[in-house]
């Protein structure tokens, strides 16, 4: 048996705060379970909206559903940072327990706790860096963030199974030890609230002026709407300005169609209020004017259950084209927009023509369209 290093024993004896206890850890654990549970569900919604399996048809309503779920995911995730750090501080003495492992079972248990701690920190760190556009990590964000979520939730389920009786015992009992846990928990909640209040305005516009730490601000960008990919970054600066631009409707159609911009503008125009809701959590409501996608597809004689692909002038990139399923293309709110907030689309917003649809991630609101293809 290895003797405990003296320094470890001394260090452990000096955790004088009585907040390093089960009841504080339990309450923070309950909050964290809710926070990570919410992030997991909203994260899956976002993932499967962008990569829907064949059997899944997302509804086009409620219009703001994705805006809300992704806002919850990102702002809720930011507010989770103080919670997680407080919880880990509370249980920190257990990191130094001696002996480090007592048995194979104990080693497994600690290994799973390591997965939970490292995974939870990994998700919050990569998530924060990603919304800050700080790509310090060498791997693609979405893939790593998505798969790590399963590791965290799996380790969390095991952790809940192991700690459930302890949590029940300590949370259900009114303690009479005079420790001011309420003050500490209130402080942690205040830190979470401070983070949420200074960022939420990037998606909840009544709080926009408070959002001094948010990576986006409604009202900035062309026509007052923020931009993710500019025409320059997408490599379409020249092609999108080309006077010979045409929008074609092809594929399994009764008759193929081709429009100049003037011809598109001569079709019945509709004006709708729809948000751009980015996967990075920000959103901006805007007024869009253009042709209903469904009008165009009916003109072309598309089948009622057709899947539609809209394609961009972009040469490559994962978001060069996107699929529009029947619930979305049949929705009268789904437009091939030509105007934004009363003026012709800015080049960076997808001029001459872009898709805008309700309840849809921003990356799938394909810009600089030149083709609609019926599959």
């Amino acid at each position: 048996m290895v003797r405990q290093p003296a320094v470890l024993g001394r260090a452990r004896g000096r955790f004088s705060s009585r907040l390093h206890d089960e009841r504080t850890a339990s309450w923070l654990g309950v909050w964290l379970a809710v926070a990570f549970g919410t992030a997991f569900v909203t994260g899956l919604i976002s993932h499967f909206m962008q990569h829907p399996p064949d059997w899944l048809r997302w509804p086009s309503r409620p219009v703001n559903l994705y805006r809300v779920t992704q806002g919850l995911h990102v702002i809720g995730g930011l507010a989770t940072i103080p919670l997680l750090l407080a919880k880990l501080w509370t249980v920190y003495p257990r990191l130094l327990q001696w002996p480090p492992v007592r048995s194979a079972r104990h080693a497994t248990e600690r290994g799973l706790v390591f997965l939970l701690v490292a995974g939870a920190l990994f998700q919050l760190v990569t998530g924060l860096l990603n919304i800050a556009y700080w790509y310090a990590f060498p791997f693609p964000f979405t893939v790593a963030h998505y798969w790590t979520a399963y590791v965290v939730v799996g380790a969390l389920l095991v952790h809940i199974a192991n700690e459930w009786s302890k949590v029940r015992r300590t949370v259900m009992k009114r303690p009479e030890d005079g420790i001011d846990r309420r003050g500490f928990l209130f402080t942690v909640a205040a830190a979470s609230a401070a983070v949420a209040l200074t960022t939420a305005g990037e998606t909840f516009s009544p709080l926009a002026r408070l959002a001094v730490l948010a990576p986006r601000r409604v009202g900035t960008g062309p026509a007052g709407v923020p931009v993710n990919t500019t025409a320059l970054a997408a490599g379409v600066s020249a092609t999108a300005r080309d006077g010979g631009w045409r929008l074609t409707v092809t594929g399994r159609v009764g008759r193929e169609l081709s429009f100049t911009l003037a011809e598109l503008r001569a079709l019945p125009q509709h004006t709708e209020r729809l948000p751009i809701s980015c996967v990075e959590g920000w959103s901006a409501g805007a007024t869009w004017t253009g042709v209903r996608l469904r009008d165009l597809l009916r003109m072309a004689g598309a089948a009622d259950d057709a899947r539609v692909r809209v394609e961009s002038l972009q040469r490559g990139g994962p978001y060069r084209k996107s699929w529009v399923d029947p619930p979305h293309w049949k929705d009268p709110l789904t437009l091939l927009a030509l105007d934004l907030n009363g003026a012709p689309l800015d080049l960076d917003h997808g001029s001459p023509c872009r898709l805008i649809a309700p309840n849809r991630p921003g990356v799938l609101q394909t810009k600089w369209l030149n083709a609609v293809v019926i599959a």
């Binding site: 490292a118 990569t126 800050a132 798969w147 965290v152 799996g154 001094v212 601000r217």
Partner: protein, 139 residues
Amino acid sequence: MKGRLKGRVVLHVLGGAFILLGLGGIVAESEPWPWLVWFAGAAILHDAVLVPAVLLAGALTARLPAAGRRPVRVALIVAGALVLVALAMINSTGRRPDNPSILPLAYGRGLAVLLALVAAVTAVRLLWNRGRLRNRVRR
């Protein structure tokens, strides 16, 4: 009792399956080694740098007079959370000359204002505590 045991087993199996699914996905679709560096690195940095720094702050603030300790610690916790988020925006390498709508704000100034606000609230609380203490002595 038996039901609870069954629940535990179910959660363990389900949890284990999720973990394997996630790790399998990382190996198959992401870059496992850089991922591992960041995954373990997050825990190591947290345990070896962040928490010791917090413990040090705790030990230092323990020397404050009792009436001042709480407000100062509350201020440090709230300010610390704001600093972490602000640092990501301030140090970000994501600004692009063609896209001024990315990170459009002066985040250093925003953080300074927020910290000043936290400091002001804390100062008011400290003065308030002192006033109350003095009143108690007078009575």
